[in-house]
């Protein structure tokens, strides 16, 4: 049903207002009482998150479409606002993360006020608020102008957050690159809207929906939109800003960025291609599928090579965006060739994974932030053994790792499973080539998933397990309750969404109804316990049973073995009979990923050099070995460096027109005059 105004919309406004208030509080109040930021500002942020969840959830579950307008902007161009299940869904996602960081933030940000380089807190608070506001409002936007305004506001405040600790050069580089790409992306999006507006005769989304485009222009509009939103989503090869920008931002912001901001790119793609353009074509699907597969695979491969924890997580965002896009691509292929149910399945898989990734990536970044908060370390090579010092954080982080590695019974697995199921319906297609490439794409997805598992074994194993590698890490303490609360919220959701997928999918029905006028009829034919996306015969999955099984085994093991066996005693680990083991004998992160580096050598630009200083003595043995490893992302070297050089070269050349000699200048105007005179007569 559709209506003007309505409570959910009011709630959404309330959410936006709360974000603004939180910004205002941190702008005006903080200077006098720093305490305010930690309470006032984050309190309002909490309210904003809650309100977003409420409004989004309401609109989603009650399947409402509410519209409204404001008398702002140019007179003939009102601000149109609309809350429908799709935006509601993303509102929900956003709200959840905001809630989590508003719990996590107060303790975490206090660090900046202390740290060796004291940062002023107001900018952080203000731009966090504006960042959230931008995302809330762009979800509500119902015309190109409003959308672009808040889209850019999101990018811009994101920039200020990335550059927040601007004393580090890395932050400045990252912020510059980020804003540059964001700006270019926004302009491209604008072009796509321009195409739609030219056909629809107006900038409001309703007019665009009513536009009837020729296939060529529709494809152009889609291509521009896909490019523009792809930049934000961090699609390979447009991703270069992402692994730089996310790590250097404050961790709760990184969580927002990876969790929410890049999802706005997905939102944009879905909104434009499914809603505004309307008729999806399968060719687009093929492109999206290929790009998605590439992103998934390259993203995880780049990620494995990282030893900066947050950077590793950032690269994994690229991988997961790729997985989401694979789902979208499949959905487009199926819709474009007339299989509505399968198209719906793909869409559901994509959206489900969007939600999941928001949750576990947020969780992981918060976890990384917790480690950073206590140890001031982002480099895995310096961590280790944290599970003993920060057990709860370790548990949360482990949940995140399991979820992102797509292991049952957590949520990451469900959405990837749905993607696989969609891919396996390829035989339904008439086009034999598609039937052939889709399963291969699925197999590559499997490869990506397996590599992700490897990567997170490394991440968790090096950071939390083993022995501490530095003193700071050895003396780390558990983080305050607020931060644990923020992580706990997300961790719980990760488990719930993994164990009760059926209900989630049913809740998503309004979205698919809105976009493709179709839902998954048989998803829950056998009740909430069994997830049967297509039909019980084709495939079924029941997460609760796995949980039960593990619980049972624990119980049995505990009752029978633990009680009856003799109590265990501790001893030294096995050292082959050589002397005392120390922490430097552990496998490092680089060592862990060495086999994979050798297997997939061509993906990176690897520069490896070993300097060995031979010692004296009858048996020549190395006194000291210095090992250096440079791993670089080809897409940077191949796509961006040339463009940069091109522009700089052009700028260098162009200088010669300004010789500083007044005669030359006079000659210019003389020549111009004569030229024009010659033209006109």
């Amino acid at each position: 049903m559709s209506a003007a105004g309505g409570t959910p919309l009011l709630l959404a406004y309330a959410a936006a207002a709360c974000s603004l208030l939180s910004g205002a509080v941190s702008l005006f109040a903080v200077r006098r009482h720093p305490g305010f930021l930690h309470f006032g500002s984050f309190l309002f942020l909490f309210a904003a998150g809650a309100a977003s969840i409420a409004s989004g959830g309401w609109a989603l579950l009650a399947d409402l479409t509410l519209t409204d307008q404001f008398a702002l902007g140019p007179p003939w161009l009102r601000w149109y606002v609309r809350l429908d299940p799709l935006s509601g869904f993303f509102m929900l996602l956003l709200g959840t993360l905001v809630l989590a960081i508003s719990l996590y933030g107060p303790s975490y940000t206090r660090e900046f006020a202390r740290g060796e380089a004291r940062q002023p807190l107001p900018p952080l608070g203000v731009f966090t608020a504006l960042f959230v506001l931008g995302m809330q409002m762009l979800l509500l936007a119902d015309d190109a102008l409003v959308f672009m305004i808040f889209w850019e506001m999101m990018s811009l405040s994101g920039y200020f957050l990335v550059v927040y600790q601007h004393q580090h050069a890395a932050n400045r580089h990252a912020a510059f690159l980020y804003l540059l790409l964001a700006h270019v992306g926004a302009l491209v999006i604008l072009i796509s809207f321009g195409v739609l507006a030219a056909f629809g005769g107006g900038l409001s989304f309703d007019q665009m929906r009513s536009a009837s485009l020729t296939p060529l222009w529709a494809t152009l509009a889609f291509a521009f939109a896909f490019f523009g939103f792809g930049v934000k989503a961090g699609v390979v090869p447009l991703h270069v800003w992402l692994p730089d920008a996310h790590p250097v931002a404050p961790s709760h912001i990184s969580a927002m960025m990876s969790g929410a901001m890049i999802k706005m790119g997905i939102y944009g793609i879905v909104r434009v291609s499914y809603d505004l353009i309307g008729h999806v074509r399968w060719e687009w699907g093929v492109v999206v599928l290929i790009v998605g597969t590439a992103s998934a695979l390259l993203g995880v491969l780049y990620a494995i090579m990282q030893h900066d924890l947050k950077r590793l997580l950032a690269y994994h965002s690229i991988e997961n965006i790729g997985i989401i896009l694979m789902g979208l691509g499949l959905s487009m292929i199926f819709l474009g060739s007339g299989h509505k149910v399968l198209g719906t399945l793909g869409l559901v898989a994509a959206l489900y994974h969007t939600l999941n990734h928001a949750l576990f990536k947020g969780l992981l970044f918060l976890g990384a932030g917790a480690v950073l908060y206590r140890t001031h370390e982002r480099d895995l090579e310096h961590m280790g053994g944290l599970i003993h010092r920060m057990p709860v954080t370790a548990l949360m982080f482990l949940v995140g790792c399991v979820a992102i590695s797509a292991l049952p019974p957590f949520n990451g697995f469900v959405s990837e499973w749905l993607t696989f199921q969609t891919a396996l319906q390829a035989p339904a297609l008439k086009n034999g080539v598609l039937r052939a490439i889709i399963p291969i794409a699925a197999a590559l997805l499997a490869l990506a998933a397996a590599l992700a598992a490897a990567c997170f074994v490394k991440a968790f194993g090096i950071a939390f397990l083993g022995k501490p590698r530095t003193r700071r890490v050895a003396h780390a303490r558990e983080v305050p309750a607020g931060m644990l609360g923020g992580m706990g919220l997300l961790a719980t959701l990760c488990l719930l969404l993994g164990v009760f997928p059926t209900s989630v999918i049913e809740a998503m029905a309004p979205i698919t109804q809105l976009l493709v006028h179709e839902a998954l009829p048989s998803a829950a034919v056998q009740g909430w316990l069994w997830l049967t996306p297509i039909s019980p015969e084709v495939a079924s999955y029941s997460a609760p049973f796995l949980v039960i099984a593990i619980v049972v085994v624990f119980g049995v093991g505990y009752v029978f073995l633990k009680r009856r066996a003799a109590p265990w005693r501790t001893g030294d680990p096995w050292d082959c009979g050589f002397g005392q083991l120390n922490h430097r004998m552990q496998y490092t992160s680089t060592a862990f990923s060495q086999p994979i580096r050798r297997v997939f050598g061509a993906v990176w630009k690897v520069e490896e050099d070993v300097e060995t200083v031979a010692g004296a003595g009858p048996i020549p043995r190395a006194k000291s070995i210095h090992y250096q490893l440079h791993v670089q992302d080809w897409s940077w070297l191949k796509c961006y460096v040339p463009i940069g050089h091109l522009v700089l070269a052009a700028a260098r050349r162009i200088g010669v027109i300004q010789t500083g000699n007044i005669h030359t200048y006079l000659k210019y105007s003389f020549a111009t005059l004569l030229f024009f005179l010659w033209i006109v007569s």
Partner: protein, 242 residues
């Protein structure tokens, strides 16, 4: 129409117009400063004469005013100013070297042809007897500009500038019997101020560059500066880390 059919005054006008053009050519070729100034004065005088003739022919009394303005400004004031300055900066005798003077004069001739070509559509319109002189006026203006383009000496540039003004003024007179008086006055005022400012600037130039050679004014240039080495995306490839 044939020249012969025109009245004597009109013929005189055309004759003087030709002389004005001639003076422009002389300026173009004149390397030494003082003669340049004098030629400029002559041009002004001829211009004034033309104006008076036109005023007489076309019974436009207010053209007398503008003729008077011309005499005061272009014949007396400005040349005198320039003369005093060049004496004061004792540069009245130095001559600058003009590269390929013959080529330059040829270029001037080319400009005359070009301006004739440009002016053709206008000439069709004008009902005045003296319409062909429009082409001449354009030519005078363009030649003035050419002069500015090739001369290194600031004084020469000023004179080029002023002779452009002459061309404009001339065109106004011969095409439309001059512009409304207020505009004329405004223009004249601007020219006067400009002349004074030029005078001021000669002093400044001499003080800071100890010559009036404008080619030395090349500090503010973009040509040979290296690119600034800022920290930009190019400075460090983001993919990298060790």
């Amino acid at each position: 129409m044939a020249l012969a059919e025109l009245g004597l005054f009109s013929q005189a006008i055309i004759l003087f117009a030709a002389l004005v053009l001639f003076t422009s050519f002389i300026m173009l070729g004149q390397a030494r400063t003082l003669p340049l100034i004098f030629t400029f004065a002559w041009q002004g005088l001829l211009l004034a004469v033309v104006t008076v003739l036109v005023a007489y022919v076309s019974k436009h009394p207010d053209l007398y005013v503008s003729a008077a303005l011309t005499i005061v400004l272009k014949v007396v004031l400005i040349p005198w100013l320039l003369y005093r300055l060049s004496v004061q900066l004792n540069m009245q005798y130095d001559a600058e070297l003009i590269r390929h003077p013959s080529l330059l004069l040829l270029g001037g001739a080319g400009l005359v042809i070009f301006s004739y070509y440009v002016a053709l559509p206008i000439v069709r319109l004008s009902g005045l007897a003296t319409r062909n002189t429009i082409a001449v006026s354009i030519a005078v203006e363009l030649i003035g500009m050419l002069l500015m383009c090739v001369r290194r000496n600031a004084v020469a540039q000023v004179i080029g500038f002023m002779s452009m003004e002459n061309g404009l003024f001339f065109s106004a007179v011969v095409s439309t019997y001059g512009m409304p008086l207020i505009v004329e006055l405004g223009v004249a005022f601007d020219v006067l101020v400009a002349a004074i400012l030029f005078g001021v600037f000669f002093i400044h130039l001499r003080d800071s560059f100890d010559s009036l050679d404008v080619v030395r004014l090349n500090r503010l240039s973009e040509a040979d500066e290296p690119m600034p080495l800022q920290e930009a995306a190019g400075a460090r490839p983001p993919g990298e880390h060790s």
